[in-house]
């Protein structure tokens, strides 16, 4: 593999508990190339979401290093991590996390506006491709779960990130809807050239990724 886009080395993380710290990640190491897709699987509590959060700059590590291109993510301060999330890494949440008071159009463009690289034409394309063109003036509460997740994917891709992180993106959707949403996500991710790291329990979804990484008790199995 050429120079990886994402490089994770010996990542450590533990959470405090009443009877001492509980290790969640114990020396996780892996790489991800630009444009590549990777499924991160493992049993509940294996550290998948924690790994995703640290890679996305949502949480900090106790030890080890995460690099995105030339940027040492684990060395960034709060402001630096915020800038990273704004423009280079984008997360698709299981709970969608749309802004309920903004309509679909505004939600779709929101992160791109935040990053200062709003491209109306690209947003229109995304809306059309995601089947949202007829729903732009609706509010999230007026959409089905599948539609909301498509808005979340659109918002993520509107900013044209280098890395898309997806945390159980179909966890709140039925099988058929989930499958359609994944098709769209993979298609659009491929078009933007972004890498995708997807946390999932679903073997069906994992099988759609180019690579698969299994975590067990905080280690790569």
């Amino acid at each position: 593999m050429s120079t990886p886009l994402l490089s994770v080395r010996d990542l450590q993380k533990s959470f405090p508990a009443a009877d001492g710290p509980v290790p969640v990640l114990q020396g996780v190491t892996f790489d991800l190339a630009a444009g590549q897709t990777l499924a991160l699987t493992g049993e509940s509590g294996s550290g998948k979401s924690t790994l995703l959060h640290i890679v996305g700059g949502l949480d900090t590590a106790d030890g080890g290093a995460v690099r995105l291109g030339e940027t040492e993510v684990t060395a960034l301060d709060d402001r630096g991590r915020a800038a990273l999330r704004r423009s280079r890494v984008s997360v698709v949440f299981q709970q969608f996390n749309l802004i309920p008071s903004l309509d679909v159009g505004a939600n779709l463009a929101f992160q791109a506006r935040l990053a200062g690289r709003h491209d109306p034409a690209w947003c229109d394309t995304l809306a059309r491709r995601l089947g949202l063109a007829g729903h732009l003036s609706k509010y999230p509460e007026q959409l089905s779960g599948g539609q909301q997740q498509r808005v979340a994917i659109g918002r993520t891709l509107a900013v044209r990130p280098e890395l898309v992180l997806a945390d159980e993106p179909t966890g709140n959707l039925d099988e058929e809807t989930g499958s359609r949403v994944v098709d769209l996500m993979l298609e659009l991710v491929a078009e933007t050239g972004a890498a995708l790291l997807c946390v999932t329990h679903s073997t069906a979804l994992a099988s759609r990724m180019e690579r698969r990484l299994v975590l067990s008790r905080g280690r790569v199995a």
Binding site: D59, D78, A82, R85, S87, R113, L114
Partner: protein
Amino acid sequence: MIGATLRALLSHWWRRPFQLVTLMVGLATATALWSGVQAINAEARASYDRAATTLAAGARPRLVADGPIPQRTYIALRRAGHDVSPVLEGSAAGLRIIGIDPFTLPPDDLPQDTGAGSIGPDFIGEPGQLLVAPGTEVPDSLPPATEAEGIPPGAAYADIGTAQRVLNRPGELSALIIAGPSSMTAPPIADIAPTLRRTGGTTTTDVSRLTGSFHLNLTAFGFLSFAVGLFIVRGAIGLAFEQRRGVFRTLRALGLPRGTLLALLSAELLILSLVAGAIGIALGYLVATLLIPDVAATLRGLYGAEVAGELTLRPAWWLSGFAIATLGTAIAAAASLWQTARMPLLAPANPRAWSRASAQALWLQAGAAALCLAVAAVAWGIGGLAAGFVLLGGLLLSAALALPLILRIVLRAASRTAQGPRAQWFWADAEQQLPGLSLALMALLLALAANIGVGTMVSSFRLTFTGWLDQRLAAELNLRAETEVQADEILAFLGPRVDAILPIRSTELPLAGAPAQLVGVADHPTYSETWPLIARQPDTWERVNAGDAALINAQLARRNDLWPGAMLEIAGRDMLIAGVYSDYGNPRGEAMVGLERFDTLFPDIPALSFSLRLDPAGIEDLTRDLRDRFDLPESNIMDQASVKRASLAIFERTFTVTGALNVLTLGVAGLAILTSLLTIATMRLPQLAPVWALGFTRRRLAMLDLGRAVMLAALTFVLSLPVGIALAWVLLSVINVEAFGWKLPLRLFPLDWLRLLVLSLLAAALAALVPALRLARTPPSELLKVFAHER
């Protein structure tokens, strides 16, 4: 980034207009009540200041006598080289006439902004000219008037000659202003006019001192209303922050720095507070406009202080309105901003009841209540008016802070003893609702306690005051002659037509270092049998009538700790205090001596005033005959019934303002309940849907919600009763004593409480009606969504 984020934040209010209205109403109402009171106070202070800048206030030293100063004395002093200027003051046609000599009066003492232009030939010549404040009505019987700035309301400036004519006091002067240094060769003033004495003149300070307590009372009520309003603001802001927790988390997850988020939230709050502040200031102006006539009447009736009946918009006032709105928002939002600043990025985004206090937090709140109570106790120990208000505030705040814990204990106990699952759920659910409603219930407690406290104080006062008036106003008729000659003629006329003529003399003088009044009264059973003494020595009246002792009013006694047996210096002579009498409505100190003693002390005071005892049936005829025969002005003859009527009218007007603020505060509390119920109603579905699924009808659930609101209001009322009574006691026994110098017995009025209970239950039921109706009409599909979202 900023534009997109602001849009996201503000869109919350756009999508929840009711919440925005709640916040605006709360903040605007709080600002309105506060700034309304401040506008009234500012107007009064400005009136006092206007008065202070004029010579009438006696800013310069002046020469006075115990009676009128003959004009020839003035001429003699001027000829001898003393730079004095004459002043004559008196009342005519409801105006305070101030006669001046524009040629000898220092220019600084002329009314401000009047300038020399207004004092021209018309002012000095015949028929003369009056200078009055804009808007002053001048009857045709007086010389023509010209409006000029800087004249105190209710006053009219005239040339000294004009004033002597208008007041019918030819050749008389009230005082001589010392306008400048005397000539080096001038003989001492005492050689020319031995009866004159020099005074510093501190009338304005006296007015400020006397009215200060009244304004402090108003400010305290304004602050209470503001605090109650802030409960709504706190509720609305807290809820808005809680509902947006998910948005905040998403914004942060999408790359918005924490500092930027907090700065934008602060900017959002600033914008909201400025808009609500502007509305509040406009409403405050309206409140002040409605209340100021009553305030002006009260200040005039109670203290003789003139306050303009119209409001002026002052920049300082509206700026302070914006400041208080912003400060109030900052106080109300501080905790929410702090929580947002500390919120971990990966915190659960599900909205939880923002005020869902843990047991630990409730106990912490109870600890704060105990601390407030301790502060109140310390303030009680310190004494003084300011400490009295700290005691009041501490009591109210501690009761409000302790309320949620007390209600929780009561509801938990009820839940444990409840029979059947429905009752158990009802009480348990009420406890679950408590955190969301506690701010509104605390506001209700404050409003109810203030209503009970002030209501009890006013009713106790009214009862005592009415009884006191009957004692104090024993004489059927009081009259005042215009001159001594007229007085002699009246006495000759009255002789056979009345049972007794009781001469009264009075003069202003300092007592125990403060301005006061000395009254000389006749030796008659009218006084010895009815005068309302609250402390006395044996043979009180015998000693007073013999000229050995004096009586003083309760104000003078309490302020200086002078009680029967103590000595008081009166006009340079130490006199024994033989008794203390109650003297409600009089803010000044007063002493009474026998008539003969008075005449010894002040031989020059003319005998012009008399109380008359006669058969009440003859009052009307005698009054008419006196007016017809002696051409006495209306105000010179007062019958007992008129005086009582006037006194009670002043009394009622005095409490009109506090009564109005009381009602407004209760209204604000009712609004707080309504808004709280409406806002928590939106979060109630997940709690109600399972109960509905288990077999409750929506109608039954709605009825239970209505009943719960009424029950909580009733419990709050029960808890507010002891707080209100304690408040009344503080007002009657601490604040009144410190502010006015009189102490009143506490009387209880259960019927008034019952009325208030019904009113508060009605308010709670009305507030709960809309959310209950909404619940009753909630489609089952909405309730089912709760289960769908649980996956």
